[in-house]
């Protein structure tokens, strides 16, 4: 089936759309659909990408605001904030967040940021937006499934949002939802209906990810335009490809873990439960193993961190090459390291479980495999640095965020080598050191990659630029703020300060960090305010930003910039362009850039 036929196949599903004959669509490919079919139930991958992005932004604001709330508790344990009582009601009496509310906030912060923002918001947005545009396809392999993917995400969002408002509150047993806290309704207030809604929402989310992932893989492997061999694809596409492979293979395992959890909650089974007393009463559950859940969870959980960071890596590779006007250094090594990370991602899950009583002999293998990830990661870092080395760098906000990504990826990645050692992990497990490590290497880095992508492709999305000045302010405050927030946490963690506690001020060993916690919380508020500035910039620029006047503002080689400024459904008004070269011909033979669509000249040098 051709691209063309795929694009039109949805009309069989959506009878309301007029069925124009294939022969007469000579200029433009606008489906003059209704508002509903254009903006709501759209099957255009570009619109679906924007839907993912804006839903992700809404979730990011909520998730980040939750972190502000619990940082208030951590930074100012003795101060009363009466306005908290106004917004949280009985969850914050006398202006103090209750412990139950604190745990719910921490749990939802993790769930929202990891899954709803950095998985759906990041890879959902850019895989959807860039895959068809950069491989030269008119749309995804199945636009209908692609639409379903977004709407499953939307329903998952609604369910998760609803869980915030139930009487007993949302899930509060941590974003990992370990049993028995997640398996027994009587275990805590957050283990009741909030937990059920959490599992339901996550199951819907998994379905959304699978539908999306299927499409991304089959589009990349099947729908490339003429001449676009796999090794002529931009690194963004390679990164999205491996991300989708990881998701398609690991999310189902999480789903099976959740299914067993649901049975434990509601059908009286004992997959994860054994010998438990609740409120002095012995439960009849016998023979289960809580560790079993951890295995199933982390079999997804670890690939999940690469699902988050690989798209950011792809975006950064692309943005750095374009803005330093140099070819990416070590294109094949970049692909090879992505592949190596993808394989290793499946073989390291037990490093999250070193202190569960895991056999130390088995642990040794997981240490080795974990430390091996440093090799492809280092290759990537080296290649990014050599790409910008002596480049003619345009310091656009996108380029700055990409450089920021490399910085945080290095400093967060190095602490991963500490944590990957099972013996050091005995001391550092569940401390603020872990918090600092994964927030820098996965949270901040992935956000920087996402920001780089948004600043860079915003003109393609909306035909306008984001405001540069606000972009620079956004970058510098976020970069400095991120280090000021998470750097001190390394010291707290090394001192043994455990994560997930409500109040450290009554704890003799960690009283000394009161000032530091105070400081971190103040920076958190400033950084949060800066993100709101970005959100303002985003929505303001959609309507009032500086207009794009040329199709290729960054002088890039890739196919998405060969489409019209406002590309309709189908992307190219005429034929899909043919590709003749790799996407990184910058500053070659004295020419600033050569688009992929230009045939190789007779006297051209090898790249």
């Amino acid at each position: 089936m051709s691209n063309e036929a795929t694009l039109h196949s949805h009309q069989e599903v959506h009878g309301s759309l007029e069925h124009d004959q294939h022969g007469n669509g000579h200029d433009g490919h606008e489906h003059h659909g209704t508002f509903i079919s254009k903006y709501v139930f759209s099957m255009d991958h570009k619109m679906i990408a924007k839907q993912f992005l804006i839903t992700g932004i809404v979730w990011a604001i909520i998730g980040a605001f939750f972190s502000v709330l619990f940082r208030l508790q951590l930074g100012f344990p003795d101060t009363s904030f009466p306005w908290l009582s106004s917004i949280l009601g009985h969850w914050a009496e006398n202006g103090h967040i209750k412990p139950e509310a604190y745990y719910a906030l921490v749990t939802m912060h993790g769930t929202i940021l990891v899954f709803f923002v950095l998985t759906a918001g990041l890879s959902g947005t850019f895989s959807n937006f860039l895959i068809p545009l950069q491989v030269g396809a008119r749309d995804m392999a199945s636009p209908f499934m692609n639409m379903l993917s977004y709407w499953f995400f939307f329903i998952a969002s609604l369910v998760m949002m609803a869980s915030l408002f139930v009487q007993t509150g949302p899930a509060s047993g941590g974003w990992t939802a370990y049993p028995p806290l997640s398996a027994l309704g009587d275990a805590s207030i957050g283990s009741k209906i909030g937990m059920d809604l959490w599992i339901t929402s996550m199951a819907l989310f998994v379905v959304s990810q699978l539908l999306g992932g299927l499409n991304y893989i089959s589009t990349i492997l099947n729908m490339r335009t003429k001449g676009m061999s796999m090794t002529k694809m931009p690194l963004t596409i390679w990164a999205f490809f491996f991300t989708a492979v990881l998701g398609v293979l690991s999310f189902p395992v999480l789903l099976s873990g959740f299914i067993l959890l649901l049975f434990d909650r509601h059908a009286g089974t004992s997959f994860y439960l054994s010998d438990i007393f609740v409120a002095g009463k012995a439960l009849s559950n016998e023979g289960g193993s809580a560790i079993l859940y951890q295995h199933l969870f982390w079999f997804l959980g670890h690939p999940e961190v690469y699902i988050i960071v690989l798209p950011a890596m792809g975006i950064v590779s692309e943005v750095l090459a374009i803005n330093s006007r140099k070819p990416i250094f070590g294109y094949l090594a970049m692909i090879g390291s992505l592949f190596a990370i993808c394989i290793l991602a499946f073989l390291v899950w037990a490093h999250h479980m070193f202190v569960t009583g895991l056999n130390p002999f088995l642990g040794a293998f997981f240490v080795l495999l974990t430390l091996l990830i440093a090799v492809p990661s280092a290759i990537k870092v080296f290649n990014w640095l050599t790409t910008i080395w002596r480049g003619n760098i345009n310091f656009t906000p996108g380029a700055l965020f990409s450089i920021g990504f490399v910085s945080t990826f290095i400093s967060g990645g190095l602490t991963g080598i500490w944590l990957g050692n099972s013996s050091i992990d005995i001391h550092l497990h569940d401390t603020y050191f872990v918090i600092a490590h994964f927030h820098i290497v996965m949270g901040v880095s992935a956000f920087f990659g996402m920001f780089a992508g948004i600043y860079h492709w915003f003109p393609k999305m909306y035909g306008r630029f984001l405001n540069n000045t606000l972009g620079y302010i956004h970058f510098w405050i976020t970069l400095c703020g991120a280090y000021l927030i998470f750097w001190p946490m390394h010291y707290e963690g090394l001192a043994g300060m455990p994560r997930r506690y409500y109040d450290y001020s009554t704890w003799e060993s960690f009283k000394q960090f009161a000032g530091l916690n105070h400081f971190i919380s103040i920076v958190v508020i400033m950084v949060f305010a800066t993100q709101l500035l970005f959100v303002f910039n985003f929505f303001y620029s959609i309507f009032k930003g500086r207009k794009l006047t040329i199709a290729n503002p960054w002088k890039a080689t890739t196919l998405e910039w060969t489409t019209p400024i406002h590309a309709g459904h189908g992307n190219w008004p005429g034929e899909v362009p043919e590709v003749h070269r790799w996407p990184y011909d910058y500053s070659k033979d004295g020419v600033d850039f050569i688009p992929q669509t230009v045939p190789i000249g007779p006297n051209e040098s090898e790249h």
Binding site: M1, S2, N3, E4, T6, E12, H22, G23, G25, H26, G136, A137, R138, A141, S142, M145, L210, G213, L214, N215, I217, S218, T219, L221, N222, M223, T225, K226, V248, L249, S250, F251, P252, V253, L254, L255, S256, G257, I259, L260, F263, A267, G268, T269, S270, F271, E286, G287, G288, S289, L292, H295, L296, F299, G570, G574, E575, V576
Partner: protein, 187 residues
């Protein structure tokens, strides 16, 4: 007219997606069966006999794989009456399979092997029930094909739809064989 040359591949994107989806479903059942293996290695593992009826249901689902393959053949020969009969028969066999599996559950329950009993028993219920859901998904797909075959105004000549359905059907069949062997051997 847009160039059709853009598509040089031989395999249809929907078929391709199906193969990836089957990989994904396989991973889910690998998740279940590895959980089973991990749990089996721990204390308090209860061994019991699988219901005999599972062998009969195996024959039924194998038979249904034959009928759907014949349906694909008849579709390509444009023998639409035979085709409709065969996909109806296949869907019916799918429902019979599900019913037999459920009968197996009641048989287990009658022997005191309850869902909320020993973990090994709970596993059988959950794994087999998840497989039934996937078979019923195939039945729904066949019903869609069935009603499509009766449409007056739109004629379908592409065999892709039925081929996708058939591949999925063989897949749930093979999945059941794997599960049956696994559950019989790793007890």
């Amino acid at each position: 007219m847009y160039a059709m040359s853009a598509q040089r591949n031989k395999i249809h994107p929907h078929k391709y997606s199906l193969w990836i989806a089957m990989g994904s479903i396989t991973m889910m059942f690998i998740g279940f069966t590895s959980a089973y293996i991990v749990k089996r290695a721990q204390a308090n593992w209860r061994v019991f006999e699988l219901p005999k009826i599972f062998w009969l249901s195996t024959v039924v689902i194998l038979l249904s794989s034959v009928t759907i393959q014949l349906a694909v053949h008849q579709f390509k020969q444009r023998q639409m009456i035979r085709y409709r009969q065969l996909i109806t028969l296949t869907a019916f066999l799918g429902v019979v399979f599900a019913a037999l599996q459920l009968y197996g559950f009641s048989d287990m329950a009658a022997h005191g092997l309850k869902l909320d009993g020993a973990v090994s028993v709970s596993f059988i219920y959950v794994i087999v029930a998840m497989h039934i859901l996937h078979v019923l998904g195939g039945v729904v797909a066949l019903l869609v094909m069935f009603f499509r075959a009766f449409r007056k105004n739109v004629k379908v000549y592409s065999p892709v739809g039925i081929e996708v359905a058939a591949t999925y059907w063989h897949f749930v069949d093979a999945l059941w064989i794997y599960l049956l062997i696994f559950l019989s051997v790793a007890r």
